[in-house]
Symmetry: none
Subunit: 219 residues, 4 copies
């Protein structure tokens, strides 16, 4: 009865993702509580009522935003695991710059901020995020660091700590992008994240490098 390609149908199929996109932009910009559902609808080019045809409440819309946006990048991250061999440091640099610059430029970076902002009001979100994003990502990178140590490429260090040293600045860059950065407040380097990521990894890897036999202590 409804030609699947009718303009009506096409609109309908696109609606949810149009609404999700609009909602994400606004939730990230203004916060969940400060965003009016009518604004979301307006940004998606529909009326108030239409929003509620697709999502039963503003809160469900928030959860859908988070779930849907992450799924893509979660999947992408996992693929990288199937990386071929080579010096671990190089692999790490490639993986991180490539993957992370993607994340930074993708909607996922906005989700980082959103999760940070809203966890305390919606703890489910945090639970989901930890399980689906943080832990897999941590394991992925931690595995590489471990490999470097096993192969004698890296010093024996605390894996979890190194993973944080590597990752937290990158996460922070994402948060910055959607907070201070989005207001045009940007201290120097914040403006060129991929350059910073390269430098940062260079510094970290230098720090990880296995000491020479005669190695003097750092401090």
């Amino acid at each position: 009865m409804s030609d699947p390609a009718s303009p009506r149908q096409r609109r309908k199929d696109a609606r949810p993702s149009e609404l999700l996109e609009a909602a994400m932009a606004l939730f990230v910009e203004k916060g969940f509580a400060a965003t009016k559902s009518e604004e979301v609808a307006a940004r998606a080019g529909v009326s108030k009522g239409t929003l509620y045809l697709y999502f039963p409440s503003k809160e469900e819309l928030l959860k859908a935003v988070i779930r849907d946006t992450l799924l893509a990048d979660i999947a992408r991250g996992a693929e990288r695991l199937a990386q071929e061999d080579g010096p671990t440091g190089q692999l790490l640099v490639e993986l991180m710059t490539d993957w992370w610059v993607n994340v930074y430029n993708s909607p996922s970076s906005a989700i980082f901020k959103l999760v940070m902002t809203e966890v305390r009001n919606f703890p489910d979100i945090g639970e989901f995020y930890l399980r689906e994003v943080i832990e897999p990502g941590h394991r992925l990178i931690g595995g590489l660091v471990q490999r470097g140590i096993d192969r004698g490429e890296f010093r024996a260090v605390d894996i979890d700590g190194v993973v944080h040293s590597i990752v937290l600045p990158m996460v922070m860059l994402c948060l910055h992008k959607h907070s201070m950065g989005a207001c045009g407040f940007s201290d120097s380097h914040m403006g060129n994240p991929s350059e910073f990521i390269r430098q940062h990894l260079d510094l970290i890897l230098n720090g990880l490098r296995a000491p020479r036999s005669d190695g003097k202590p750092v401090l």
Copy 2:
């Protein structure tokens, strides 16, 4: 009745800071928009009306929270500048662990989250924060790194980038503390920040160390 030391007077003098404290806790926890002014009053043990005796609006309360809370830690940070001599690496480690652990445990860490969360709705905040907190802090650390390079203790690196590599994880720890961390979601190391800070600085300093004469490149 107006003896400045009468309990009543003391109460009255304490009001603003009690209200600020209550407001900060709630703004950080739930966000500005989701916090009701009555809640703030209740948490400070006064009535709704009293809040408006001290602050003309909820928005002014927010700004006061941010201004007032930061002033203390800004001052403290500045003092460290008057640090005496010694190997730069050691100085850096001492300065950062000491100062930062303090920040992490002080209300300032909460303000980081609050600023991040609310800049886009209240850009003045961001402007103030950048000028009073970020830039001075950045200069402080950047100065130390520069000194290390000048003295031949560190490699010649991009100063701003290193400052970010050093600082961003620490900032991120603060944000975590008041978002995921406050919900009990904590991956491994997040639980012991001062230990992480020590490890992190160790790694960075190792990476900064001036290469030996025969220095092979890291990658």
Copy 3:
């Protein structure tokens, strides 16, 4: 395609009454204001839009429900007037139990409740109902009572009052059926209306019986 007996045609002809039936059930159950037009459509097995093909608005639907449902029972009641002769009491009992038990079990009983519920919002309904239902019914029964008096079978009583004494409990039974009764709240006798009607008429007729010559007053 327009064969009047084609299944499609039959469907179409039945639509209005299917919709009316669905509407009545829901209006009686939940009240007019609390019933959604989509529910009516769904219960009739059609879509929202179709409802508006047959009735221009929810309010017109209500009026149609009331008009249409009553016409049948109004007609039936009138037929009884053409009753043959016999003792008036017996006639009254037969007429009332037969007719009323029918009414009680027919959709008309639901309409009683609906009219009661909605008159004040839609006074036309009340006017129609009074003219077409209440007054004819009252005259029908009043005529019988009058006949009984004329023939010396009944005491000389106030006709209108007796009609009410006879009829109101029966009306009340109808209302009960669609309010408390429909919720499973039922005091004793409410459960068996035809038995009650018999007893009630017996009591009333006993009260109407012309007194003996030596008649002592009741009180």
Copy 4:
């Protein structure tokens, strides 16, 4: 701190009952769903917001209306039980005319309609009403009928049936008052309820009267 007789305090104490009264009038007139909370507030002379200071939701307001309004009349009915002796018929007439005319003229009569109208949407209401109003009332009257039978004043009849024959027309009068009656549609007797009640009881009592020894059957 607040003088208990201050105008402010006095208003505050009166608010709930003013709101309840306004709500009852409107709920009875238009039905619960069709009454806007703002109308209730306006009729009570306050603003929308104030209503919600005293009742957490429109639904709770409805329940409060029913509970509160009935309590008075429930209590009054119970007192009558402590009636002194005398011929049962006379007692019944006095009790019913007195009590019922009061009920008819009190807000309770409105509640009858409200309960009837809303039970199916709010079953708790029906449960409460059955337990607190219908059953006690039924027992009260049933007890009197039983006494009449025991003393040989009345025929041996089905008690519950008689109670209904007595009471249902009176209840119906109440419903009428707030439905058709309130619209000015009134068939003859409906206009003078206390006169009708007298006549009705007279008829019923005549029907209840114990038959003479030579008693011929009614039919």
